[in-house]
Structures are given as C-alpha cells and as structure tokens.
C-alpha cells in the first residue's frame, strides 16, 4: 500500500510504500496505553500487471480497530462488511448506508463508499471501500485507511502511520542526487572533487532519509497530493524495520 503522512509541525507531506507480504498484518496505529486505540491492517496479494517487471501487489483486505476505553470494542472492516463487536456483535453490509451511535463510538457507512469511525468524539478514522466491477487480474477489492482526527491520540502513538502524528520532520538538502534504491548516497561516497546538485532529504529524529518529489492520488483519485517520497519501503524513515510492524493477529494490541 501507499502511505501518505501529513506532518503537522512542518506542514510537510511525506509518502512511502510498504509492499509487505500477503497474509501479514501490519500495525498502522497503536495508542493502547493512553487512548486505548489500535488499528491493524491485513494484506492480500495480487500478481503484478502482465508485462511489467514490478513486484506483486499487496492491498489491505481487512482493517481492524480496537477501542479499549471505556470498554473494549472491536471493529473489523472488509470491502464487503463491517463487524461491530461492542458487547454484542453486529454485521453491517458495506453496500448499505448505515449509521450506528453508542455513547462512545460512532460508525457511519456510506454505501459502497466509506466508513467513518469516531471514538470518544476526538479520534476519527475513515476507511474507503475500493470495489472493482470488473477487476483486472492484479486488482483486488481493498480498503484505504485515513486518519481524519487524531486529537484523542497521545504522543506515545506509534505504528506505521501513528508514529508520525506528533513527529517533527524537517526537510534538508544533501549534496548529490544519484542515490539509488537501497543505498544512501552522500557526497563522501562520490568523492570530494565532484560537485553535484544537492538532493532533498528528511530529518527524522537522528536519521536522514533522501527523498524525491512525487504526486500521489488519494481518496480514490479524487485528490492529488504532492509529497516527499522515501524509497526502499521507508527504510530509516520509520522507526525500526518492516518486521517490527508485523503483528500476530488482527486484534493484537501489543505496544511498540
């Protein structure tokens, strides 16, 4: 999936891809200790488009939201249905427009379009349903996950998206722009006598990540956003590595 992060402090927009393995469940957001909210996404695979040399594709086929406070509620979302389990279990088809409100939780499904989940009034996620009428072999019905309101999430929030909510990411320029995927090109590696144009990089914590400018379509292509793209599965941009974000099951709420 494509990740887009809007860094609130610096107003930068950063993007990256996480290809992942089909069947893996990725931790997207976790703030289990404070707000009690965890979001995980399970990947499904699809073959690469014919004739291309790209890798196989992965999509989110299931996204789960666990809200622990004041009592534990589970929301399991697939392109076909939404299962709400807060004391009692309820299955809601994604093909109908449905709104459910309890004291602490609000769910609004716009038929075949999206699901908005509001937790305690201060946390809001939007999940888009992507359904294909005539899917190509490399397409699968899948989901998109958007953070609409993160006020209620604490500074300790982590996960592939969650870690950037309170992060201060700065843009800097590094000399040289010949970096290739998998390598962190710097002036030193190219030799001192060669003068190269500078290349953009992001300063994340104590790490520097070279980036390039890209455009991303979001909200089912309704909007286009310019962002700084970090290659190589966001290596060095994210804390730790890919495997640190793979969790054991859909409702895993383990902390970072």
């Amino acid at each position: 999936p494509h990740f887009v992060v809007e860094v609130p402090q610096s107003k930068l927009t950063v993007c990256f891809n996480i290809n992942g393995e089909p069947g893996h469940i990725l931790r997207l957001v976790t703030d289990h200790k404070h707000s009690g909210v965890t979001v995980n996404g399970a990947l499904i695979g699809a073959p690469a488009p014919a004739g291309s040399h790209k890798e196989q594709r992965t999509y989110f086929k299931t996204i789960t939201i666990v809200a622990d406070k004041p009592h534990r509620s589970y929301i399991e979302v697939t392109p076909q249905k939404v299962i709400l389990d807060d004391r009692d279990r309820m299955i809601l088809p994604s093909s109908s427009s449905i709104s459910i409100e309890t004291a602490n939780l609000g769910l609004v499904i716009v038929a075949n379009t999206n699901l908005t989940v509001t937790i305690l009034g201060t946390i809001q996620f939007v999940i888009l349903f992507h359904k294909y009428k005539n899917p190509a072999p490399y397409q699968r019905d899948h989901l998109g996950f958007y953070i609409a309101n993160s006020k209620g999430l604490s500074k300790d929030t982590h996960g592939l998206l969650g870690q950037f909510l309170y992060e201060d990411i700065g843009l800097t320029q590094l000399p040289g722009n010949f970096s290739t995927a998998g390598k962190n090109s710097t002036q030193e590696t190219l030799g001192e006598n060669i003068s190269l144009p500078s290349c953009p990089a992001l300063k994340v914590k104590d790490r520097t990540v070279t980036v390039i400018k890209k455009s991303r379509r979001i909200y089912s292509g309704k909007q286009t956003v310019d962002c700084w793209f970090a290659r190589n599965n966001a290596a060095k941009l994210i804390d730790g590595q890919y495997s640190d974000y793979v969790v054991s099951h859909l409702f895993d709420t383990g902390d970072w």
Binding site: F3, L165, I218
Partner: protein, 680 residues
C-alpha cells in the same frame, strides 16, 4: 378407481355431491391469492339445498365470489355496510357475541353459502381471497383448509410460491387436524411426519409448486367425515447478510418494502407474566401452562428481568415491588412459585393487569437510566371472562391503558372457548401488543411457548421507516414499537405521479445502547423492471400482476381498521371508517366495513330457476356497533412487531418527512487529513 365401500357411501348421499374441489394459491412475495372452485352436483330429480362452506384464514379478505347454478351466473358485489349505530351509541357489556364463535375457529373463519340446486343440475362456486403472509419464527406459513365434508372425486390443492429472493426453506407439513396434528401424515425414514400422501413438490431457487391431489381412496383413509384438515406450507427466503435496508419491490406505481434484518444483537427485555389461576384453569390448562412457563424460564437470557403475577379472586405477585434478574437462584425460586400454583376462584383480569403494570412501571421509573434501552412487556394469559373486580370491558380497557401509559407492550393470550377475545384483542392492540388464541383442544404448552418464542427475542425498538417526500404518498404503517427475531416489518406505499427515479429509504431504530440509521437510494425504474421480469419468468398469470398495489390496499385497509379501533374522537373514527371503506370497495375486499351482496337463484316447484333475488351475506359478521369504548371484530392484522403507540390517525395517508435533505450519508467532498494508507 373408487373403492367399493366408498361407492356405496356416495350413492347413499342425499346432499349434493361435490364432484370437484380445487384450491389454487399463488403467493407472490408473501402476498397470497387463493382461488377456490367447487363443483356440486344434485343427482336427484328434486331440488336440493347445497351448502358451500370453506374455511378462510382470519387475516384474509375475500375478493370475489360467484356462483353458477343451472348454467346461470350469479355474481356477487361488495358494498359498504349501512351504518346501523353511531359511534358511542352503546356499550358492550362484555357478553358473548353469539355470531363470532360460530364463524370463527381460531385462525380460520368460515365462509358459508347455501343455495338451492335444481334437480339433476350442477352448481359451481368460485371464491377468491387474498392474504399477506406474516413471517413468524423465521418462516411464512400458508394454510389451506381442506374440509369439503364429503369425499370428493377430484380434489386438488395447489400452492405456488414465487419469490424475488432465493427460497431457503420449504416444508410441507402433515395435514393439521386439530387433535391429531401429525398422525395422518406420511412418516419419513427419519421417523418424522412428512407431507401427506400424494403431495408433489417442484422447486427451483425462487419458485416452487406444491400439489396435493389425494384420490378418493386416500381421502377415505385420512379424512374423518370429509375433514382432511389444514394443508400447511412453511417457507422462508434468503435475506442479505447483516443489517441491510431490506427488499423493495416496485410495480404499477406502488412499492412494498420488506424489512427483516438479521445478525442483530438481542435487546434485553423486562417481562412480567400475568397468569390466570381461576378455577376454570384447573386440570390440563394449568398443567400445560406450567409446562410452558418452565420451558420459557429456561430460555430467559442473562440480561433479562422478570416477575410473575397470578390472578383469580386474589392477586399474587411472586416478587412484590420489583423485577428480578435472571439468575439460577431466581429461576429456581420462580419454578417453585409456578409449581405451587393451584387454580381456584373467579377471574380478576383487571386486577392482574393492574398488578403487572405497576410492577413494570415502578421498575422502569426507578431505574430509568440503566434500562432505557431494554424492551418491556407483559405477557397476559387467561381462559375466561372477567368475573371478579371490574367486569365491564370498557372499564378494563380504560384502566389498562391508564396503567400501561405507553411505557411497555401488552401481549395477550386466550385459551379455549370461554374467552372474551375481543376484550383481549383490544387490550393488546391499544398497548402495542398482539393477541393470540389457543383453541380449546390445542396443546396450550406448545402454543404458549410458540407465542413466547415470537416475542422473546427483541432485536430493534422504535423503528421508523421513511421515504423521500417527493416520491411517495399514502404509505402504510411506518412506525413500529419493536422488531422481533424471526418476524418481518412490511411497509407499502403509493408513488407519486411525478416520482423521481430514485426512492430514498431511511430506517431509524434502536438496538440496546445503539441508535441505528440505515439509508439507501433505490432506483424505482430498475426495481420495477426487475419485479416485472421476475413476474414474467414465473408465468403466474394476469390475475396476480397487480400484487403490489393490492398488497398496499390490503395493508391500508388493515391500518384503517386498527386506527378506527384506537380512535378517541368521533371525527377521527369517521375518517378511518370512510378511508378503510373506500379502499375495501376499490379492491373489492369483504372487510368488517363491507358486505357482499350475492344474487341467489330461486327454484320453482317444478325445479326450474326463477328470477333471482338479492341477498346480503354477512360472511364476516361485523360488530353491531362500534365506538372507542367498544370492542370490534377488526382484527387479524396484527404482527408480532405491533403498532407504534403514538401513531396519529393522519398517518394513514400521511407521507413521511423528507429524508433526502437531512441524510447523514450525503456524499460530501472529503476534506480530511491526508495521513493514510491506501491503494496497492
């Protein structure tokens, strides 16, 4: 081949011989059209009285009756009844209405026509009736009465089911014949009783045709005095997974909306059982009641609260002043209480209801906060008329309404022949409940448990179904107090001439602590095309093509009759009466507000037919006078989900408030955070 013994019997018959009886039903999306054809032959040279008698489901409306006697056609005509008494013109003393029991046998009513058949001549009786099948306990039930009172050379019963959704369950029950419900059915390999012999079922996904054609020898084997019993078909259809908006069908400017969501969590309930322990209950009745209560107690859910009240001359409350939670200890104590019940004395219906209502009212008012999301109900059971305390029906009804105060629903059950069913019906109808009859010889234990099963699992409360204002006019009941598991809510409506292509449907309801809103835009044109296509595929014939409009008419009449029964003001009552009468006439329904005028042949002494004379046949005996304080025979239309308590009479013809403008689901341009994980 006719058996010799049967042949002898036939020749000894003096009454006209039924040569052929055909009962053909076509059910299209729960709406059942039944056509009965009976051919009767007078073998003798002298004119003889022929009696055509047919049991019709209480909920059905006759839509046509025609006789052909001696080759001449005698059609009938449905006309409005003349007003005999004005509203409030009398008081029902609660005495037995002599007409009712003769004409009503539990869930069936008898249509009877006597006619003189000239010698060596034939009479053909053609009767049609229509009925909307209610979903109960997770299936629809269609009942055909096969009681020709004699052996019939050509007897055929056919039931054709045409549904939009896949038929998920179909069962033909053994012939139901009162005391021995299953003894005469075929016994299948698994030991269960199956459909009666000579039943053939043809079925595909959305269509099935069942025929039952017992020959005369088979009839002789299974029938007692030509009373084969009820031919019962159960079926159910597939529903969309989860909480969908339901199925909407459009045809000829009308629509019908079937709403029966599944996979909903059960709403906790507060239930008070008010049980008659008067002397007449002694013996089988109390034993079977106890059996049912023991079973019901086992099925109460952990979040439920309950209590028991018994009434005779004396009112006894098991746990005074409270409702208790369902715990093993409480169940054990309650069983002891039930076990110790000993019938004696008179019947204080008013006292029982007052005690039960007080329990629930106090409980709800004291624990408003924690129980506002539960469903509260009284299950009231009696086998007789009030003999102690308040005995006047209007007084009891008034007191009940005051005690209930629209806070909970009252479900009533009558056992046997001595019950004032009109009183029970009125009590339940006015308090968002339903009434059920348990015939004298029936197994009360099974029926009481069955009724509890219908209402024991509430899934939604305060359901409101609305449609876009600009698309719809004249919708039927769209507010429902409760939706129970296994049932179905049905709303029908008339589309405006200038309906847009899209019908916006919104359902709001509560489920325990959740409030739920379901919305959908339905393409009228597409739905109409689909409905027409399915009808064409089913090849069901032209007579049922307008089923959506007739279903709408049927439900509108039922609504009108219920509204009339509940109306407090004279003008209101008059409006309902007029509305229901007009609709009955439009759709040719024989209802409590209409009468059927049948031309009958007069046979001269020489056996030939004379000029006809008109005769009014009150096949559905109306109440002699009706007022807001009186009981009426307007019945048969209740569903387990029952009526909304505060429905205003205007809602008969009122269009629901616009929803499209106030929709929660309007697709606004998304202006959310870009922080996301999406795509491939």
């Amino acid at each position: 081949r006719i058996a010799r013994q049967v042949k002898t019997l036939l020749t000894k018959e003096i009454k006209p011989h039924i040569q052929e009886l055909s009962v053909q039903t076509t059910i299209i999306s729960r709406y059942a059209f039944t056509a009965v054809s009976c051919s009767m032959l007078n073998r003798h040279s002298a004119a003889t009285q022929g009696v055509f008698q047919f049991h019709i489901p209480t909920a059905a409306y006759i839509s046509n009756f025609t006789m052909i006697v001696g080759g001449r056609v005698f059609p009938s005509q449905v006309k409005a009844k003349e007003k005999k008494m004005k509203k409030g013109g009398g008081e029902n003393s609660g005495k037995k209405n002599k007409n009712t029991p003769e004409q009503s046998e539990g869930e069936m009513e008898v249509f009877r026509m006597e006619v003189t058949i000239p010698g060596r001549n034939r009479a053909v009786f053609l009767l049609t009736y229509e009925e909307l099948l209610q979903r109960r306990l997770g299936h629809y039930e269609h009942v055909t009465s096969v009681r020709p009172m004699q052996l019939v050379s050509r007897l055929s019963v056919g039931v054709t089911v045409v549904e939009h959704s896949r038929i998920t369950y179909l069962e033909v029950l053994p012939l139901r014949n009162g005391k021995t419900p299953s003894s005469k059915g075929n016994v299948k390999a698994d030991g269960k009783a199956g459909p009666p012999a000579s039943t053939v079922v043809r079925q595909n996904d959305t269509f099935c045709k069942i025929t039952f054609t017992p020959n005369i020898a088979q009839q002789a084997k299974i029938a007692t005095n030509g009373m084969l019993g009820e031919f019962v078909v159960h079926y159910d259809v597939e529903r969309e997974t989860g909480t969908g908006i339901g199925d909407i069908q459009v045809l000829d400017g009308h629509f019908v909306h079937y709403f029966a969501p599944k996979d909903l969590p059960v709403v906790p309930k507060n239930v008070v059982f008010v049980i008659d322990t008067s002397a007449s209950m002694v013996g089988t009745k109390i034993r079977q009641t106890k059996e049912a209560l023991f079973t019901i107690m086992r099925e109460l859910r952990p979040n439920d609260h309950f209590n028991f009240v018994t009434f005779s001359n004396r009112i006894r409350v098991w746990q005074p002043g409270k409702l208790v939670p369902v715990t093993p200890n409480n169940i054990r104590d309650a069983k002891k209480f039930i076990y110790m019940i000993s019938p004696t004395g008179g019947t204080d219906i008013n006292g029982g209801i007052q005690a039960g209502s007080a329990l629930l009212s106090d409980y709800l008012s004291s624990k408003e906060e924690s129980h506002h999301n539960s469903v509260s109900l009284i299950i009231f059971l009696t086998d007789g008329r009030p003999t102690v305390g308040a005995v006047q029906s209007p007084v009891i009804i008034g007191n009940t309404k005051t005690a209930v105060q629209e806070k909970f629903c009252l479900f009533t059950i009558g056992m046997g022949d001595d019950v004032d069913y009109r009183l029970l019906e009125r009590m339940s109808l006015e308090n968002c409940g339903t009434m059920r009859r348990i015939p004298e010889d029936a197994d009360a234990s099974v029926m009481l448990k069955g009724f509890y099963d219908e209402i024991g699992t509430p899934l939604l409360s305060d359901i409101r179904v609305e449609y876009s204002e600009d698309a719809v006019e004249y919708i039927t009941q769209n507010l429902f107090t409760n939706y129970f598991n296994g049932s179905e809510l049905i709303v029908a409506g008339k589309l405006t001439n200038h309906s847009p292509d899209s019908l916006h449907v919104q359902v709001t309801a509560s489920n325990s602590e959740r409030s739920i809103v379901l919305e959908k835009d339905v393409s009228i044109h597409e739905r109409e095309q689909e409905t027409e296509r399915r009808l064409a595929e089913a090849e069901v014939g032209a007579n049922v093509n307008g089923y959506v409009e007739r279903l709408w008419g049927y439900l509108s009449v039922k609504d009108g009759l219920k509204g009339r029964l509940r109306s407090q003001m004279s003008a209101e009552w008059e409006n309902y009466t007029q509305h229901a009468t007009n609709l009955s006439l439009t759709y040719n329904f024989l209802t409590p507000l209409t009468q059927m005028i049948v031309e009958k042949p007069q046979v001269l002494a020489n056996g030939s037919l004379a000029q006809t004379q008109k005769e009014a046949e009150a096949t559905e005996a109306p109440p002699p006078a009706e007022s807001s304080n009186q009981l009426s025979k307007d019945d048969n239309s209740q569903t387990p989900q029952s009526l909304h308590r505060n429905q205003h009479p205007k809602s008969i013809s009122a269009v629901s408030k616009a929803t499209s403008g106030g929709s929660k689901f309007t697709k606004k341009p998304v202006t959310l955070s870009k922080t996301s994980a999406d795509g491939d």
